[in-house]
């Protein structure tokens, strides 16, 4: 993918692409977003994880300038999205949750047309190639599969050569193969220096793509960390489980090896149904969001 190198820190601009403090969005008497802080560094891939209705799309749409916030400070590429104009919009790319319509237009017509909105667009044919639709370029959008349509969405999101790309649940409804190829596309963009803010409820997607993840539930940010360390996963206590004459037993411990040695001595050899487990990202996530339900 040949393109101009991204300026990581043009003109002494802040290293932070997105900075949010105390973000609040109130609908009626419900706080859909309730005091969220967030920092996304330039060049970073940040994933917002959370169940449906957690407030992640609302939060992202405020950052995109689509919704107004009730309270809090928001800075995206150094500007307030609620007041930012065309110049700012030219620097961001948005892949919304729902797919593009206009089924009567071909992929190439649509991408070319959107390119004309931007001051410094990427080459439309190159973008179509990059999202893997070169063979479908002359086909009407209405005749594409769901996964291919989503690739059109991504093409429209990156045609303006954005510094910051928003991806709102980009792979919902994909088959595993299409999801894997989509990840490669996003990893390529990240490699070229595009900052990416992604929402998803697929944990494997967050683990594969994100430098850091934030877990959001009931409008609150519960934790922010790398996928490997989220929720103290790397240092979490292990669970040693086995069966004794009274039935199944388990101990949560920071020193499983010692527990196993003691059990081994106690049973004088094989311990029935012995297992040592550590929490997966999914376990950590489910425990976090379970606590706020």
């Amino acid at each position: 993918m040949a393109r101009r190198p991204r300026r990581r820190d043009a003109g002494g601009m802040a290293e932070t692409a997105v900075r949010v403090r105390g973000l609040r969005k109130r609908y009626g008497d419900v706080d859909a977003v309730n005091g969220v802080d967030l920092d996304v560094r330039q060049g970073e891939v940040f994933a917002l994880l959370g169940p449906n209705g957690a407030g992640k799309s609302t939060a992202v749409e405020i950052l995109e300038g689509h919704r107004r916030r009730t309270a809090g400070e928001v800075s995206v590429l150094g500007a307030d999205p609620a007041r930012a104009g065309r110049d700012w919009r030219a620097r961001i790319g948005i892949v919304p949750q729902t797919s593009a319509e206009n089924p009567q237009l071909t992929v190439r017509e649509m991408v070319r047309h959107f390119a004309s909105y931007y001051p410094r667009p990427r080459d439309p044919d190159e973008v179509i190639e990059a999202v893997g639709l070169a063979e479908q370029a002359g086909r009407r959008v209405g005749r594409l599969s769901g996964g291919q349509r989503r690739r059109v969405d991504v093409a429209l999101g990156i045609i303006g050569d954005p510094e910051l790309l928003f991806l709102d649940e980009p792979t919902t409804g994909f088959d595993p193969d299409a999801r894997r190829r989509f990840w490669e596309l996003i990893q390529g963009l990240a490699h070229d220096g595009t900052t990416i803010l992604l929402t998803t409820h697929y944990l494997d997607e967050a683990e594969a793509l994100a430098d850091r993840v934030g877990v959001i539930a009931a409008g609150r940010m519960l934790a922010v960390d790398t996928p490997a360390r989220l929720g103290g996963r790397a240092t979490a206590t292990a669970r040693v489980s086995w069966r004794d004459p009274d039935g199944p037993r388990h101990i949560d411990t920071a020193s499983p090896t010692q527990v196993v040695a003691e059990l081994s001595a106690k049973f004088g050899g094989e311990v029935p149904e012995l297992a040592v487990t550590r929490p997966s990202l999914e376990d950590v996530y489910l425990e976090m969001i379970g606590a706020v339900r």
Binding site: H66, A100, E101, L105, H113, Y117, Y118
Partner: protein, 265 residues
Amino acid sequence: MTLALRLGLARGALELKMFVRERAAVAFSFGLPIVLLLIFGTVFKGEVGDTGVDFRQYFAAGIIASGIMSTTFTSLGIAIASERDDGTLKRLYGTPMPRASYFIGKTVSALTLSVAETAVLFAVGGALFGLRPPATPERWLTFAWVFVLGVTACTLLGVAVSGVPASGRSAAAVFNLPYLVLQFISGVFFVFGDLPSGVQQVGALFPLKWMCQGLRSALLPDALLAAEPARSWEHGRVALVLAAWCMGGLVLCLTTFRWKRRHER
């Protein structure tokens, strides 16, 4: 040429391309007035009162006004409502496209389709019912300003009313009901002067009645005046009412237009 205008014209071309490729839209919104002209033109007989004017020509003039309203108010309004519902508007809002370009594009496509619709109705009305183009330069001028004011008023109202339906699916009902009713009370299907006076008064509140009357004044002989309630073409009033609807429509557009669905604030 400014960026907004250049992109607006590009959008207009794109809108027309999409319209032509959507065969159902072509057949329905564009074809309906033509079908109505053919059906009713064949069914209706006789002349308007004892003015010597063939009622089918009276009807053809009304259908041209109705065709303008169909391509602008109805088709345009339904299209915008579904573009709001399916996220097309929101997607455009997320780009640096100048906001005006969207409206310029819609105006270009609505105007083009209205001219095409009128041309086809003229051809059909001329071939089958003896409808003649305006006879004098003055009448051409009348035709032109009634056409432009009618297209403008209906386009602006279509954009404004597009915010009323809660979803793209309910848009067809929201737009077709008033369109259908207005055709009955504005002098399209029936001679306006034959309607009960209460109905006339309601019809006179809306632009279609004045578009019909203005087009009749450009296309039909003055002998028809005997059947007009005011015994006059009332050009001043036609211009005034249509201009008022243009202003009202513009104010509504500027104050109520939404790029997002109703709950997305």
